[in-house]
Symmetry: C2
């Protein structure tokens, strides 16, 4: 057990800043979405995946790998979204265990209504405040950090 290399002041500032940045961004995005269209960021992500398919239907496990969510989180979330009428579940003929998640009309109009405002907010809070060089760095970082695992 070697000695811990504590974070120096600079590193502390960076780390705290990163945590705060991330919490602020997510928080504001969530509030904007919630206020303007009654959706959460998670709802939005699910709906986007569904609208990206021609039929507006996906197997949950496909959604799961797209979103990189835990399986039970997805299941719970789908239950809540179904209760709110944004999606529906259908049985899967091919696989007796499986199911389909289907976009409802309400779901489709919700995402259609929400998208412009959300994209504007992402642009305003994130891209507009960073230089192209910084944006490129973020891209690199996410690849580096995520791949190394």
């Amino acid at each position: 057990m070697t000695d811990t290399r504590w974070l120096d002041d600079d590193e502390q500032r960076t780390w705290r800043g990163f945590l705060r940045l991330q919490r602020q961004l997510i928080g504001q995005l969530n509030r904007q979405l919630q206020a303007d269209s009654g959706l959460s960021l998670a709802d939005y992500d699910v709906l986007v995946q569904l609208t990206d398919t021609p039929e507006g239907r996906l197997r949950p496990f496909a959604l799961q790998t797209e979103l990189q969510w835990e399986q039970s989180r997805l299941s719970h979330h789908l239950t809540r979204m179904q209760r709110r009428g944004l999606i529906d579940r259908e049985e899967c003929a091919d696989d007796g265990r499986g199911a389909f998640v289907v976009l409802t009309d309400a779901g489709r109009s919700a995402i259609t209504a929400a998208a412009p405002g959300h994209v504007d907010t992402v642009r305003r809070l994130f891209f507009d405040r960073l230089t192209p060089q910084q944006v490129a760095t973020v891209q690199q970082m996410s690849e580096q950090v995520l791949d190394t695992d």
Copy 2:
């Protein structure tokens, strides 16, 4: 109402990458802390603030401004931490409305035990995977994005 400037593919990748990066990092940090010392990241942050004071006592509103938490989140969280014996509440003589949050012995030993492993993890997952230049960019970014508001 002008037309929405949608995100191009590159921007989409960057944004998704950032979201995923952040979720992964927080998730792993939380799991490590939880597994190794039974604390959450939030617990850890509260305890750090308390240990930074000579007496291990702070007014909740001071904690709030340090952590930048919502007041009710803090209050709920303190209730849970108190129930687990990590902190205690005391009345404040100066201000009849106020209170003090005090570090208990259990709380102090919990943070002492947790700190090395947590710092190691932060280093391993974040700092060790980034170049000094990237770290500097993160620092800049958090300042830019957070100040602009």
